[in-house]
């Protein structure tokens, strides 16, 4: 119980710093998610009807996810230097697969009869996509965005190792100062706030998903 008390004490003494790091972390995650979502949804739409392109892009996104995170972060340092940049690129690559896969799956699941009706009433390809197919695939796409967000909120802790910011800083300081006062508390603080951030982001996305999904398909 002492541990918990000293953790609470540490958090209480460092609120402004923790808040700042949390915002930094959230900013990285949200920025990456925004780009990754647009990219993956557009890619998903583009490849969904094309067998080979679909296999290749899903396969590639899958492989990206298997690259050890530390390595993936470091790979981009020679290209873009240190700081948030290499971290963002790596996180972006991680975020692709869940969104891409769900976009494709969501579009695949749209009843062909509905698309036939849309086409038969004189909707062009773009109108079919925007008015019918995406709205119907939307809940599945949002689910993919939520998975990606969870995933990279955790992985973003590594950003600090390539010179970036975020809550990873507490974990790193804690781990490199093991044995010193507050080292464990730092690790716990970083971990705890990453989890909290992930939960908050998920709840927000969940709410957005519900509000943007038609009651007719809820």
């Amino acid at each position: 119980m002492d541990g918990v008390r000293s953790l609470i004490g540490f958090i209480a003494d460092n609120t402004s710093g923790i808040l700042e790091r949390t915002i930094e972390h959230a900013t990285i995650v949200l920025g990456v998610m925004l780009v990754a979502t647009v990219f993956s949804v557009v890619l998903g739409i583009a490849v969904q009807n094309r067998g080979l392109a679909k296999q290749v892009s899903l396969g590639t996104a899958g492989v990206l996810l298997t690259i050890p995170s530390l390595a993936l972060f470091a790979i981009f340092i020679p290209l873009v230097g240190i700081g948030n940049r290499p971290a963002q690129i790596a996180l972006f690559l991680y975020a692709i697969l869940p969104i891409l896969r769900n976009t494709v799956a969501g579009l695949d699941a749209v009843d062909p009869a509905i698309v036939e009706a849309a086409q038969g009433m004189g909707m062009g390809q773009f109108q079919q996509l925007v008015r019918v197919r995406i709205p119907l695939a939307w809940p599945v796409i949002i689910a993919g965005v939520r998975v990606s967000t969870q995933l990279i909120t955790g992985v973003a802790a590594i950003a600090v190792l390539v010179g970036g910011g975020g809550l990873g800083a507490y974990i790193q300081r804690g781990l490199t100062s093991l044995g010193n006062p507050f080292s464990i508390e730092r690790v716990w603080t970083g971990t705890l706030f990453i989890i909290l951030l992930a939960l908050v982001l998920d709840a927000v996305l969940g709410a957005i998903g519900r509000r943007t999904t038609s009651p007719g398909i809820r």
Partner: protein
């Protein structure tokens, strides 16, 4: 159906029609239209030339895989023809913008394809929105259409498709196709996905609707009974969408041109043909009748003098009341108007011969009593008369085809 089967059902009303659908101008003209899905393979639709006239329901019917859906989808170019022209109201639409064409054609499919994420009103407003109608006009129109297909707008307008029964969803599908008031409707097994009772109701409702809106309709089904019921004309298709016979249901039923058509329309086609003739078209012969107050001796005399086994007794207002035969006349225990079976099945003059046949079968005297609208007596029809009519229908249909052949042989030297 009520006991006094008389006024035909809405559906049946459409069946008995002396109007020749081909008198109307041509609305859709397919000119040698062909579809080859896989180059080198047999075409799904082989050089089809076909006219659909304004205001008619042309039914395409045939065995599974014969190319009905492909033919239908060639008309709104959901499938692009590999050869031939499609003429729509004198305009060649083979090469115009397909989306623009489709907005002029209502399209209803078996699996309906309502947009589940949109309300019923939004679904119905699809084509109006595409055509750029304002919100107010679209809303008005969708309420109007809900009314037309028998769904209370106040209840259904804001519902989602998942909140509808199959039959209601199908009605909305029809309303959606009618939204921008297209002159032409294409319907691919529109009532295929509902139970038989609902289907029958939807068919009747649709025929009533069509009597009001007078669209040019191409209707695909694989069910010959539906074809006979819905069609002003029927095209019976064989493999590769080749027309085996194209004619009114009555003529197809009385004169199938070949074994393929004969097999396809199946047994009972003669009975079905009786839907197309009205009692009023018959020369109804004299029949012995007595009044309620006719003395027994007088009644017996009338029966003896006639060639019939039954007398018909009318009530004081001239409506058929009871059947009387020898035995009943001999039964002196009760007054004459209390013996003999009560006349149950009567048919009005505008009923079909099918209704008359039904009445004959249910009648104790084996014959159908024909009445005026007000229930007063007209005459009695017997089975022999129907046999005659069937023979005449056959002869007329055969003659029609012989005449047709004759003109064709003189046309083409």
């Amino acid at each position: 159906m009520s006991e006094t089967t008389s006024t035909p059902q809405v559906g049946a009303a459409g069946m008995v029609s002396d109007r020749d659908p081909t008198d109307a101008p041509v609305m859709i003209h397919l000119d040698g239209v062909e579809k080859v899905y896989t180059p080198g393979a047999a075409p799904a639709v082989e050089k089809l030339t076909l006219d659909v006239h304004k205001g008619e329901i042309l039914v395409l019917v045939g065995p599974s895989g014969c190319g009905k859906s492909t033919t239908l989808r060639l008309i709104n170019r959901m499938i692009e023809p590999t050869a031939g022209r499609i003429i729509f109201d004198d305009e060649d639409v083979t090469d115009i913008d397909a989306n623009e064409l489709r907005r002029r054609i209502g399209y209803v499919i078996q699996r309906i394809g309502l947009f589940p994420h949109q309300t019923i009103a939004e679904n119905i407003g699809t084509v109006p929105r595409l055509l750029g109608w304002d919100a107010e006009r679209t809303r008005k129109r969708s309420d109007e259409l809900l009314d037309l297909v028998g769904l209370e707008p106040g209840i259904y307008r804001d519902r989602y498709p998942k909140e509808l029964s199959g039959g209601q969803a199908q009605r909305v599908g029809v309303a959606r196709a009618l939204a921008a008031d297209p002159p032409v409707m294409l319907m691919d097994e529109p009532f295929g996905a509902v139970d038989p009772i609902t289907r029958d109701r939807l068919q009747n409702e649709f025929l009533r609707l069509q009597a009001e809106v007078q669209k040019t309709i191409v209707f695909v089904t694989h069910d010959i009974d539906e074809a006979v019921k819905m069609g002003d004309r029927i095209a019976i298709l064989r493999e590769r969408s080749v027309v085996a016979q194209l004619d009114t249901p009555a003529r197809i039923l009385s004169y199938p041109v070949d074994d393929f058509v004969d097999d396809f329309i199946g047994s009972g086609s003669t009975l079905k043909g009786l839907h197309f003739e009205r009692v009023s078209g018959l020369a109804i012969p004299e029949y012995p009748v007595v009044r309620r107050d006719t003395p027994r001796e007088e009644a017996r005399r009338i029966l003896d003098m006639s060639d019939f086994r039954w007398l018909l007794m009318l009530d004081e207002r001239g409506r058929p009341a009871r059947w009387l035969n020898e035995t009943h006349l001999a039964d002196t225990s009760r007054p004459l108007h209390e013996v003999g079976p009560v006349v149950r099945a009567v048919v009005e003059r505008n009923a079909t011969l099918h209704d008359a046949l039904e009445a004959m079968i249910t009648s104790s005297a084996g014959q159908a009593v024909i009445v005026h609208r007000d229930g007063t007596y007209v005459g009695v029809v017997q089975i022999e008369l129907l046999t005659e009519v069937i023979g005449r229908m056959r002869r007329e249909a055969r003659k029609h085809y012989e005449d047709l052949e004759a003109t064709q042989t003189t046309d083409t030297p």
